[in-house]
């Protein structure tokens, strides 16, 4: 009986160690996901580059607002010019809102996205990062360390119209500016806002 309890306890500890989401200041969890055109994209293949992860769901009203009137308009394109790699990740489970590849392909076209959208139907990568919302942003520095996790900006309507404190702050822009200036990211965590990630289970 005691042995069984110890085994269960050990299993629980192992499970919680695996399930612990990514932490700012620690190494970003590696992943390999398929892009919409079926190619494998591996995070560690971008070693030496700054990477931005954007949790994505084209059916989510907040994502729509962010890409049409909010802080995600052309933000990826702007930073691509300085060598930043931008990856959108859809962790929606099969049959969930915005999870169908065709919906993502349509969004890429409509919003003129030039960065890849990666599919994570099992939700394993989303859970490894603790992604709770769409959009939910993560910035990884050139050493592979997670340096920012949270909202795209401080306007929780997704439209840049209601910035807290009256001044709009794009947290990803400021994190990337800090990285470029070789200083610590000043605002490293914020509370993400938006739709819940539509995990399959």
């Amino acid at each position: 009986m005691r042995i069984a309890a110890l085994v269960l306890l050990a299993l629980g500890l192992v499970t919680s160690a695996v399930a612990a989401p990514a932490t700012v200041g620690k190494k970003a969890p590696d992943f390999t996901l398929k892009s919409l055109d079926g190619k494998d994209v591996k995070l560690s293949s971008f070693k030496g580059k700054v990477v931005v992860l954007e949790w994505f769901n084209p059916g989510c009203p907040y994502v729509k607002k962010s890409h049409t009137v909010g802080s995600l308009i052309d933000t990826a394109k702007k930073h691509a010019k300085t060598g930043v790699v931008w990856l959108a990740i859809n962790s929606g489970g099969a049959g969930k809102q915005g999870a169908e590849p065709k919906d993502n392909e349509a969004a890429v076209k409509t919003w003129s996205l030039e960065h890849p959208v990666l599919l994570d139907p099992s939700g394993a990568t989303g859970k490894a990062y603790g992604a709770t919302n769409t959009p939910h942003m993560f910035v990884i520095d050139a050493k592979g360390t997670l340096v920012y996790a949270g909202a795209i900006d401080n306007s929780r309507d997704g439209e840049r119209k209601s910035p807290e404190g009256g001044t709009l702050i794009n947290y990803v822009d400021t994190a990337l500016e800090d990285i470029a200036a070789k200083r610590a990211v000043k605002t490293s965590t914020t509370k993400a806002y938006g739709c819940s990630v539509k995990y399959g289970s």
Binding site: C60, P61, Y62, K65, Q97, S155, R156, D157, G158, K161, S162, Y193, G194, C195, S196, K198
Partner: protein, 154 residues
């Protein structure tokens, strides 16, 4: 035999009553009691409606208040993470102060207090955009209905 039949009939009626009550709880848009019965909503979709409480008498030049009630319908609730506000429209015939004060007294209901100042005596239209959001377990909706409210000042 007759007693058994009566018992069955009573049970059936109770079950039917419970079924009706259960259906009512889920879907019927019930405006708060302070809103005039039969008054049409100022804005409505399948997942929310906006009603206005009667405006208390208001004097020209004074600061007056209008109260809008947002009711989330079906399995939706008011999104407490959204910066809900009332944005004045250029077409408004009364001056609107600020962007309203929003409170959520219950999960399915929010109240927006709009302060305004009528410039002159008589009827006028208060016009603005109610920027709101409601969510259920699966989805969030962001809506911006244009609200027009008739106000009269003395």
């Amino acid at each position: 035999m007759a007693a058994a039949s009566n018992t069955v009939r009573s049970l059936a009626l109770v079950a039917f009553g419970a079924l009706v009550a259960a259906c009512d709880r889920g879907a019927t848009p019930t405006p708060p009691e302070t809103i005039a019965k039969g008054a049409p909503p100022l804005a409505e979709k399948a997942f929310y409606r906006v009603d206005a409480k009667p405006i208390t008498p208001c004097k020209a030049g004074a600061t007056c208040e209008a109260e809008l009630v947002l009711t989330a319908l079906g399995d939706y609730h008011v999104n407490d993470d959204y910066p809900t506000k009332f944005v004045a429209d250029a077409a408004s015939e009364v001056a609107i102060q600020g962007e309203g004060t929003f409170k959520i007294p219950a999960a399915k209901q929010g109240t927006m207090t709009v302060r305004f100042t009528p410039a002159k005596v008589g009827p006028a239209k208060l016009v603005g955009t109610f920027r709101l959001s409601v969510c259920n377990e699966e989805d969030c909706q962001i809506e911006s209905p244009k609200i027009t409210l008739d106000v009269t000042s003395s």
